[in-house]
């Protein structure tokens, strides 16, 4: 409907209309912008081609399929130095995602706790949290990563210290966890026969918890009685699984870390590079999240709390029923952009030798094959895709929770 136009122009088309006529003007500007853009792009591409050919290079992603020839210490999927470069890159990407996801989880926990404690009416705790937030926010994350790494590798005992009759160091928690300057070793589950049943039961009890939640909500609505949900859920979570586990004669064993040769073996090895990166990113981002949580809660006007109080709701109920549902809408968008930052910051893995995407594809692969252009482009593209996925998740969330207004 919007395309009806002025009366037909008697003089026909004049060149000056390109600039002065609103109908053509925008087209003109766009065409000029497009041309300028193309010219710049062409200029860059042309330079790149000339430069590459001057060096006798070309653009070729074939290197991804040649033998990588280097080892990666932390690998979530099987990988050996005989595998091709793309697989090394994949191992790196998974490591990036691993530290990003773990980081987001821990950062959220830290951030929420710190944010809420900052609002607590305990003067001392609130102050401590302020100190935490202000110190982590205002110091570069890289410094924190290095500092965490330094703590881990300088102040923890080396595996050697665990050796001998009267060893200088000992393991934690009844000899199940070994904290060394090479990393921390924790027990790893060993799946014996019958363990599948335990896992299934565990999954079923998760389902049961969900069903119970629904049921108890309905019961509450019907009768007004509220059950001690938390404890019941906890019982469902732990009870059946534990029972089956014991009945089946403990099918899931744990392999404990043991000192063997130079190092501990057995158990899961959390390398210091990962721990340092993970902790530093989490604490750093946690400080920002604490601020987000705090201001999110504060943004829900005092009036809401007062109205809830005036209706006789207890503070904890007020928090759960009135403040949090509203605060979440305020909190989640900036929270997600913090997740985005954390993911991008995980590329600082470089500083501590964690083999993430940047250290594999953008590091060793790049400089053993000499394909810097291809590797960098590919790497940026992957990061971009990860970011876009996260931020489209945010947009989706935003659309679903927007408050209805007139």
């Amino acid at each position: 409907m919007t395309t009806m136009t002025d009366p037909p122009n008697d003089q026909g088309f004049r060149l000056s209309q390109l600039i002065y006529d609103t109908r053509y003007r925008s087209a003109t500007i766009q065409v000029i912008a497009l041309i300028a853009f193309m010219v710049i792009a062409a200029f860059l591409v042309r330079n790149t081609i000339t430069n590459l050919s001057a060096l006798g290079k070309d653009i070729d992603f074939g290197f991804l399929f040649s033998r990588a020839a280097y080892d990666i210490n932390q690998k979530l999927i099987p990988y050996s130095s005989n595998d091709p470069h793309w697989r090394a890159a994949l191992v790196g990407l998974l490591n990036t995602l691993l530290v990003a996801i773990l980081g987001c989880i821990l950062a959220t926990v830290i951030g929420v706790v710190a944010g809420v404690l900052r609002l607590s009416n305990n003067w001392l705790t609130a102050r401590i949290m302020t100190v935490y937030v202000e110190s982590f926010r205002n110091i570069p994350v890289l410094l924190w990563i290095l500092a965490f790494m330094a703590v881990l590798s300088e102040s923890l005992p080396s595996p050697r210290a665990f050796r001998g009759e009267e060893a200088e160091a000992s393991m934690w928690l009844w000899n199940t966890i070994a904290v060394t300057n090479r990393g921390t070793y924790i027990p790893a589950p060993v799946w014996g026969p019958g363990s599948a049943i335990v896992v299934v039961i565990f999954l079923l009890s998760l389902l049961a918890i969900w069903a119970f939640g629904k049921w108890s909500q309905r019961r509450f609505e019907a009768t007004g009685h509220l059950l001690p949900n938390f404890w019941i859920k906890l019982a469902i979570l732990v009870g059946p699984t534990l029972l089956v586990y014991l009945l089946l004669g403990r099918p899931v064993a744990f392999s404990l870390p043991e000192l063997a040769g130079f190092n501990f073996s057995g158990g899961i090895h959390l390398r210091n590079s990962m721990l340092a990166l993970w902790l530093a990113l989490s604490f750093y981002t946690g400080a920002f999240i604490a601020e987000i949580v705090r201001s999110g809660i504060l943004a829900i006007s005092k009036g809401q709390t007062e109205a809830a109080y005036a209706l006789g709701l207890r503070p904890s109920r007020t928090m759960n029923l009135v403040i949090l549902p509203q605060a979440l809408r305020v909190i989640i968008p900036p929270l997600i952009s913090q997740y985005l930052n954390l993911t991008k910051n995980s590329s600082l893995a470089l500083a501590v030798g964690y083999m993430d995407l940047r250290s594999t594809l953008g590091g060793t692969t790049l400089n053993t094959t000499g394909r810097e252009l291809e590797s960098m482009l590919l790497m940026m593209l992957i990061y971009l895709v990860v970011s876009l996925v996260i931020s489209s998740g945010m947009n989706f969330y935003n659309k679903t929770v927007r408050l209805k207004e007139r």
Binding site: A222, G224, A307, Y309, A310, Q326, L403, E405, R406
Partner: protein
Amino acid sequence: MSQAVERTVDRAKLAVSDEIAVQIINMNKWYGEFHVLRDINLTVNRGERIVIAGPSGSGKSTMIRCINRLEEHQKGKIIVDGIELTSDLKNIDKIRSEVGMCFQHFNLFPHLTILENCTLAPMWVRKIPKREAEETAMHFLRKVKIPEQADKYPGQLSGGQQQRVAIARSLCMRPRIMLFDEPTSALDPEMIKEVLDTMIELAEEGMTMLCVTHEMGFARQVANRVIFMDQGQIVEQNEPEEFFNNPKSERTKLFLSQILGH
């Protein structure tokens, strides 16, 4: 100044019993170094409708907020429905569910529908089953004349409608005392009328009400006492006729000349 309340009120209906609903004895409150309320003494009988007036900053809001413990008083006693307000949490809970309150800015919960706004507290505080709570809610929404909006969200309603929802929401808790803190001052003239009508109806049903307002029309017709506060003190209290026609203190005269002469 704006809308006169047009509806005629049957004053005879507005009975006052002898039972004491709220008693405030020698109450004092400070904000930091600032003494907001000084030696407040006030007794409200069941069924009384009290209008509180006074210049800005005189402590009106603070006083009625003390009555359901949204603010803490620091000296003196407040006894609501026979229960003394101390820092005992149980007492506070009991009093809060007996005393309804409406705010200047409505403070509806924007993430809940109108109906949910009204059923939230009954369900969670009074432990009333949802069905029943919804029936009560619809009852009161009909009473404030917006049953058809039950499934909308507060953001979709006009100010006057929102304030009426806020009143309905308080009523759903079946309070014995209602506090109003300038319920109409954020509204457009048209809407003021809707809200005042609702309040008058409430008064006719014998609700004990304390109402901070500058709607003098309302005060004249409905209140059986007008309290004038200044600088944290109750300067004057009287029946509306007397208060408006024959104010005693200078301060009151000045105030009235401002507010009416307008």
